[in-house]
Structures are given as structure tokens and as C-alpha cells.
Subunit: 534 residues, 2 copies
């Protein structure tokens, strides 16, 4: 596949729809308009895609775990088959470096394959069987068997900051497809060409797997009307979103006010506090400064897990950290941000901090190109931070705020005043364990992931990952958008009572023909076949 | 404990609060006012209870599974220690027979003990550990460990129709407490004395277990303002509700429009369709009629799973069923309903069906006392049912509607037109399997539980139960309010990355000191102790 395969059509099932209105992507590094023009979808196209998705759902959700796994594997292969064309287009549309995008592609295909393996091993079905007790007094117990099935067609909103891993074939799409749910993606308007390339890869996998066309559609577009129509469509049963707090909340409100409310899994806003405990700061202030600035400036600071807040005790070790971090920030060059809008918002947020009377600038980096992110580092006092809610707001980009605390109690107060977060980080030495132990219960209630002696950027795709957290980090803290646990968001349990064996789905049949691990009368039966079930 | 222990105070933590406004319960069998007067709580008392709940949360959620299990066991014991006084008061306040209430008490205490056993065996923590891969290229993998913790204080709304099993110490309370969440119950105003007795039993168990007082509070009251204040309180993090569609939706809207939206698990409305397939109807129309009317009239039809809709093919076998069911309904005597308001609403709904031009009355039962539920049975044609949405609305009480279908396609159309349901039932013979097989995929998308050759009333509390379903049966089809899977509603995952062993919670420590089954690198390690975790 080459650049010439990038057409501006909407991918509605197996059909290319030209659309009536159009928009162009922009190269953020130059501000230049990129060809071709892309269809700007609206409610009419939502209706078409939703009709196909609803039609395909009964067939798709009836597939075996093996069939869905093979489909996910095929998507990974089709994405790899796009070759350099995908990376080149993504670089052009996002300003992100080729090396980063190559890594992100690996993460995206790795995620699809991990999910394929997980559902093959029964991770989506989670069957539970309770044996009948015909002789129980006063009443017999029926034969009860539970499995999980897909909730229905899912709307996925591609994120700007991960044009592959959180976009058309990203975490939300992979988990919804793994759960047996058709997906309609609203591609992010900042990278429509990348979106269409990946969308065509998924369409090819749909055809290869012999699935109904409605299992996947891609709608590119720029309007709020498009997203609103998608979430409001009665055939959509759940929503995955990564983006701004305002955007996520708007979708939550639309979903909650439908005649039939539906769940929205919105990942929105996090400043990812980093606590530098006294022993660690004393032992390695300079190394912490270097590591911190590397994490802060990675990808122009455009990570959900970017360390936007540093909390430490005032004193000479913190002064050493500030000096080192300030020097590193001063030496940093502005990297291109994803879009002019994001760069503009970043500039405004940084200017607000610069002029805030309780905040002092420590350092800023070099000016860059037209949409460059000039890194910036600020400092304030704990007392001011606790008083001024605006200092807790997310600045999307490579800006961070050091909060100077008078004592350990100040650190706990700052921790307790935080909103919900994706991550919270502790840098510590054994001498810090008592203080860390007093912070941990506070942070567990605030964040989805707690790290020690690392940096929050970089999210491993695995079974034990949580990329989620209390509001406003996400709209529902009871889930994750990364890792195999993410699949559970799009599943619902169904119980079968006294159904004849012939009518039971394979996942709960007596002979366990799918070889799934099953909970039998409250105990796990992990064997891959043939356990008796009543 | 005796009747004299029923005081009208609010139970806010360990304190009895007299309140300023008051209300009385009513004996629905006589219309008589019952003593004593009960405090009618408002926003001020919500504030006090929420403050205590928030204070207790860090301590309560840090308890071990064994400590929480012992607490649940203690609640069961304390409820049993209430003895006959509980049953007598519940009978007086609800009009339900002593035998039914005795059975319901057994279900309530059995549920607490089942949940205790389940969390002892690790069912709430669900730990997942992924081993570090320090030598992985291009980047090493960190040590990642996940466990589930309580989401925070939970508001539970007691239901009118299960004064024990879905009320103060019912399924929602048991699952929230099992998850490590403090609970504030808004007791249903129809049975405040029953509520206070059970509330005191829970308080005694809190004290026996040495837990902080804020783990449990009971607010009795009659106002929408009380419920609204509870759901709106920022310290409340989730809501459990069983009741009307209007009531559940009102709470969902309040929760969705908070500055921090929270999940509401509302169980609302279900007509529980029963499909009588041709072979079964041919073989045993009379027995089906008897079984059906017994299920319909059980508890004056006041079950969430009451069979409010019967779908069958027109013809002689259906005529036999209608004749038998009509005779049984005609012979049935009105049982007392839970409240005058419920009896009034039932009367209006039945009158609306009686006067509906597309509906014919088959039979009605005898008149009863002041709040009696006169059973009623109606019939309509599939074509009319599909055209008139009002015929799909829940009638809370012992009324049901037979839908006469011309052919199997009509039956599938009726199934496809249904709203979300708690249950769907198939009565079938082997000759019906093909038709059942064509209905099943439709019904799986409509209902949380599918039964064969049984009746939907009677919900087993076990691991494989689903008492839930698509909207409007519930507000979130991804869960159940009965069975051990209900605990998951109130849990959230937290991931620990590279934390020193000393700081890790016991559930994910290398030595597995709690002996929990854990997912190790994607495979279940069900052994009760000592697996290595690098």
C-alpha cells in the first residue's frame, strides 16, 4: 500500500462514501495543508454506519473466541502490511518522530495480539456454572450457567496524541472487538490519512475473516454534531473516548440524557503527581532532575501520563533538583505539537502560569517552529497550591509545576487535595518508607496506577495494567482503557437457567468444547477441557 | 430484641438522631397507622452520615478479606438474633405472609454468608501480577501488580417489595460492604420499623467487628429531597437502587449531572416475557396454566420477575391454556399489596388495560381488603401489541397479558420489539428446539437471564446468577444485583508499578500471604499460598 491509497472517503462497512462537505489535514511542523480532502461526516453517515453495525452485531457476537482472536490477529497483520506508508503519513499529520511512531505501531499490533491470546484463553467469556441441587430443601436449585457477551455496537473516538495506539485500531477498538462488539470509529480530524490507512487495514481483516461488513466503520469529520449524533444513536450501546475534559463530559451528558442511557468510558484529564521523598531527593536530586525532564518533554509532553506536578520538601536537596531540572528545561528545544489548536491552548496555559502571582518560573526551553511546544517549569508553595484550584488544572504539553512543601503533613495535604489521576509516582529510598506508607492510602483513592522510582510516561500493555482512575482522570474509575481488563468494559453477563444442553452456548456446555477456564460452584476449573458439569 | 426496640431515630453511625419531622408506617391490610413515629431525614442528616462514611472509608477498605467476611457473618448472626420481632414487624408493615418473610430472611442471611465465603476465597481482590522483564528490548518491562479496592461510600435505596433481601441488609448493602465500601441506606418509607431493626443489627455487627462507626448509617424518610441529597453528596461514589423506572431515572440524572458523575445501579422495570412454544403448549397447556398463575399471583405479583407477558401461537392449545389460566385467576383471592400507593397504581393500570380497545379481559380474581391486588389476565393480538407501546409497560402486581401470534415469525417480531428485561422464559419440548434456537439470540440481547421450563419468580443467590439486564430493566446491563458478581459493581482496579515489597498491599505481595487465587502473567494460579512472583 502506498500514499496513493489514501482516499478521502468514509469507510462505511465495505463501501467508500465520498461525502458532501470536506476538510484537510494540516502538517503541524509547517502549517501546510495536506492532500487529499477528507469527507466530513454528519448524522446521515452515522445512521448508515449504525444500521450496518446493528445488523452485524448478532452475527459478530456469536463468533467463537477463536474466530474473534483470528480477526484481531488479522488486523495486526494488515496494519503491518501497510508498511512505511503508514508511518510516513502519521509523521506528516502529527509531527511525531518516525522512531516514536514505529514503536507505537508495535504497541498497537502487540495489543491486538495480546487481546487475541487473552480471549482465546477464555478471558472474555468468564463462564460460571452452579450445579443444580434437585433435592435441596425447602426449594431445589436450578441449573444455572453464566457467560459474558458483547454489549452491542460501540462508538470509539480516536485520540489526537496516539494516532495509532489510541486511535482507529487502538485500545478501545481492540477491546470492543475482542468483546464481540461492532465498532464505529470517529477518527480524530488531526490525522485523517493515518485513520483511513488503518481503517482500510481493519476492513481488509473483516473481509479476510469472513465477517459481516458492519463490524467496522470509520467516519472522519470535524464537527461536534458528528460526535453527538454517534453517541445519541439508539443502536450504539457504549462509548470509548480519549481527549479533553470538556469533550468527555459533553459526551457523558449526551449519553446520560438518551432515552436509554449508555456507559461512556472517557479518559480525560490527569496531571500525574510525582512525589520526591526526602531520602530519594537527598540521594539523587540531579539524576531525578534529568529523568524528570526526559519524561516531561517526551512527545512534546503530549502524554496522558505526563508528569505535570512535582511535590517535595523545601530545602537544599529540592534546590539541587530545581537547578538541575531548570538547566535541562532551558536546554530543551521546542518539539512540534500535534495541532495548531493544541499548541495555541498550551501557549495560553503557560502564559497564565507565568502571570500567576503565586507562581514563579524556573525555566523555559527554546522557541521552536510554528506549533512548537516550548518546555516550561514553574514553582509554587504548598499553601498557595491548596488555595488556588487553577494550579491543579491539566496543561496539555511539556509544562510542570513544582510544589514546595514545608513538611510531610503538607505533602499529605497536597495529596489529599488532588483530583482523580491516571498515575501517582513516588521516588523513595528505604528511609522514605514510613512517609510513603502514609501517602499510599491517599494516593490509592486518587489514582489508577502508583509507581515507585520511575516515570509515569510509558504505559505497558499487559494484564495487570490500569490506565484509568477516579474522575476527572476518567468518567468511570471502575475500569481501564489499557490492558486486557479493558475488554470487560464492553461485556455483559447473561445467565441460562435449566436450558437444554442442545440450546446452550458452547462456553457453558457440559463438555466445555471451547476449553475455557470456568468457575464451577465457586471454584476455578482452569483445565482446558472435559470437566463434568452436573 | 422485642418490638419495644423499634425507635423512630435515624441511625447515623453509632448515634441515634431523633430528627425534626416525622412520619408513620401504615398497615396495608387495614390502613391503620403504626407506631412509633419515625424521623424523616433531610439534607442535614445526609451530610452527617456522609461525613462519617468518608472518615471510615480509608480504615474500612484497608481491612483484609477475612475481616470483612467476619463482619458480614456477624451481620447475618445479628439479624437472626432479632428473632420473631423482625418477622412480625415486617408482616405488619408490608402485608406479606410470615412464611414468605421467614424465607426471605433466610435468603438475606444466606446471601451475607455466601458473599463472606466468596471474598475469603479472593473473589473481590482479583489480583493480577505481571513479572518484570528487565532484559526485554527495546524497553524493559516493569513489575506490575493489580488488585481491586472499594470505590468509596455507597448509597443504597431500600426496595419496597423485599423488605429484607433488597432492603437495609439486602443485596446492594451486602455487595458494597463486601467490596470494602461504607454504606448509607435510605430505608424505604413503607417499612421503617423493619429497617430500623435490621439497621440496629448491622450497627451491632459494626461494633462487634471493631469497625469505625461510619461504615453504616440508616436514614429513614419520605422525601425526594432526601434521596436527591444523598445521590448528590460529593462523598458518595456509587448508588444502588431497586424501584420504579421514574425513580431510578431521576437518580441517574442527578448522578450524571454532579460535578463528579458517579455510577448508579438501578433495577427498574421488567415484564418478564414467557414464550409458550407449540410443542410445550400442545403437551401440557393445563399444567402450564396452573404454574403460570401460581407465579403470577405469588406475593401479590410484586416481584421484579413477575411474568407480565405471555407469547404463544393462536390455536386450540393456547385456548386450553387461556381457559385454564382464566379459571385459576378467577378463583384467586386478592392479596394485600405493599402500600396504598402501589395498590392504587395497580388499580389504575388494570383499568387502563380493561378499557383498551385492543385488549380483552380473560378473567379477574376476587376483590380483597383495602389494598388488595385483584389478579387480572388479558389477551391481545401480536399485531396490536407491536403497534401499541403502552401494552409493553410494566404493571406492578398480579396482572398479565397474553399475546396471540399468527406464526413463529410473529413470535420473533414480538421478541425483537421488547425493551430490556430481567428475564425471558421459554417453555419447550424437544420439537420446539428449532424455534427456541431462533428466539434465543434475540432474547440474549434483551434479558439478563433466560429460563427454560420454569417460572421467572424466585432468584437464586449464587455465583452464576444474573439479576440485571438491558435498559429499562436496569440502568447498566453490565452487572447484576444478585449473586457474587454483584460485588464487582463497587470495586475499582489499582495497579502498583515497581513498588518495594514492604509497601505493597498483602493481596499482591510476592509471598501471597492472603492465599488468594491470582492471575500470574496471564494464567490463573489458584493455589492458596506461596507461589513465586519474582
Amino acid at each position: 500500500m502506498t500514499m496513493r491509497d489514501i482516499t478521502g472517503a468514509l469507510l462505511i462497512g465495505s463501501r467508500d462514501i465520498a461525502g458532501e462537505r470536506h476538510f484537510h489535514a494540516v502538517d503541524p511542523a509547517t502549517g501546510a495543508t495536506l492532500e487529499p480532502a477528507f469527507a466530513d461526516a454528519g448524522p446521515a453517515e452515522v445512521d448508515q454506519a449504525a444500521a450496518l453495525a446493528a445488523d452485524s452485531f448478532p452475527i459478530y457476537r456469536a463468533t467463537t473466541p477463536e474466530q474473534r482472536a483470528a480477526f484481531l490477529d488479522a488486523i495486526a497483520r494488515q496494519i503491518e502490511a501497510l508498511g512505511d506508508a503508514l508511518i510516513e503519513r502519521a509523521a506528516l499529520e502529527t509531527g511525531l518522530p518516525v522512531a516514536r511512531l514505529t514503536g507505537e505501531r508495535g504497541r498497537t499490533t502487540g495489543q491486538l495480539r495480546l487481546f487475541a491470546g487473552w480471549i482465546r484463553s477464555g478471558g472474555a467469556d468468564e463462564p460460571r456454572l452452579d450445579s443444580p441441587l434437585p433435592d435441596r430443601k425447602p426449594l431445589p436449585r436450578a441449573d444455572l450457567r453464566l457467560r459474558h457477551i458483547g454489549i452491542g455496537p460501540v462508538a470509539v473516538f480516536g485520540a489526537s496524541n496516539f494516532p495509532l495506539a489510541f486511535s482507529v485500531a487502538g485500545g478501545d477498538t481492540a477491546s470492543a472487538l475482542a468483546a464481540g462488539c461492532p465498532v464505529i470509529v470517529k477518527g480524530h480530524p488531526a490525522h485523517p490519512g493515518t485513520s483511513v490507512l488503518v481503517g482500510r487495514a481493519i476492513r481488509a481483516a473483516v473481509q479476510e475473516a469472513g465477517l459481516p461488513e458492519g463490524v467496522f466503520s470509520l467516519l472522519t469529520g470535524t464537527s461536534h454534531e458528528l460526535g453527538g449524533a454517534l453517541v445519541a444513536d439508539p443502536r450504539i450501546k457504549a462509548v470509548g473516548f480519549t481527549g479533553s475534559r470538556a469533550g468527555g463530559l459533553a459526551l457523558c451528558r449526551i449519553a446520560a440524557n438518551r432515552p436509554e442511557p449508555i456507559p461512556v468510558f472517557a479518559e480525560m484529564s490527569s496531571i500525574n503527581p510525582v512525589f520526591l521523598l526526602p531520602g530519594a531527593l537527598q540521594a539523587r536530586a540531579e539524576a531525578l532532575a534529568t529523568g524528570f525532564v526526559a519524561s516531561l518533554t517526551l512527545g512534546a509532553g503530549q502524554f496522558c501520563t505526563n508528569p505535570g506536578l512535582v511535590i517535595a520538601l523545601a530545602g537544599a536537596p529540592l534546590d539541587r533538583f530545581i537547578a538541575g531540572a531548570g538547566a535541562a528545561v532551558s536546554a530543551a528545544t521546542a518539539a512540534t505539537m500535534l495541532t495548531p489548536a493544541i499548541a495555541g491552548a498550551y501557549g495560553k496555559s503557560v502564559a497564565a502560569l507565568e502571570s500567576h502571582r503565586e507562581v514563579a518560573e524556573i525555566a523555559h526551553g527554546h522557541e521552536g517552529g510554528p506549533n512548537g511546544c516550548r518546555p516550561a517549569l514553574f514553582v509554587t508553595e504548598a499553601e498557595a497550591f491548596l488555595r488556588e484550584p487553577v494550579l491543579s488544572h491539566e496543561v496539555f504539553g511539556a509544562s510542570s509545576l513544582v510544589v514546595r512543601c514545608a513538611d510531610a503533613d503538607d505533602m499529605r495535604k497536597v495529596a489529599g487535595a488532588l483530583e482523580g489521576q491516571l498515575t501517582a509516582t513516588l521516588h523513595l529510598e528505604p528511609s522514605d518508607h514510613a512517609l510513603a506508607g502514609s501517602l499510599l492510602p491517599i494516593l490509592e483513592d486518587k489514582a489508577g496506577r502508583i509507581l515507585a522510582n520511575g516515570w509515569p510516561t510509558g504505559v505497558e500493555v499487559c494484564h495487570a495494567m490500569v490506565h484509568g482512575g477516579p474522575f476527572p482522570a476518567t468518567s468511570d474509575p471502575r475500569s481501564t482503557s489499557v490492558g486486557t481488563l479493558a475488554i470487560r468494559r464492553f461485556l455483559r453477563p447473561v445467565c441460562y437457567q435449566d436450558l437444554p444442553e442442545e440450546l446452550l452456548p458452547a462456553a457453558v456446555q457440559a463438555g466445555n468444547p471451547l476449553g475455557l477456564p470456568r468457575l464451577m460452584d465457586g471454584s476455578m476449573a482452569p483445565s482446558r477441557s472435559g470437566e463434568a458439569s452436573s
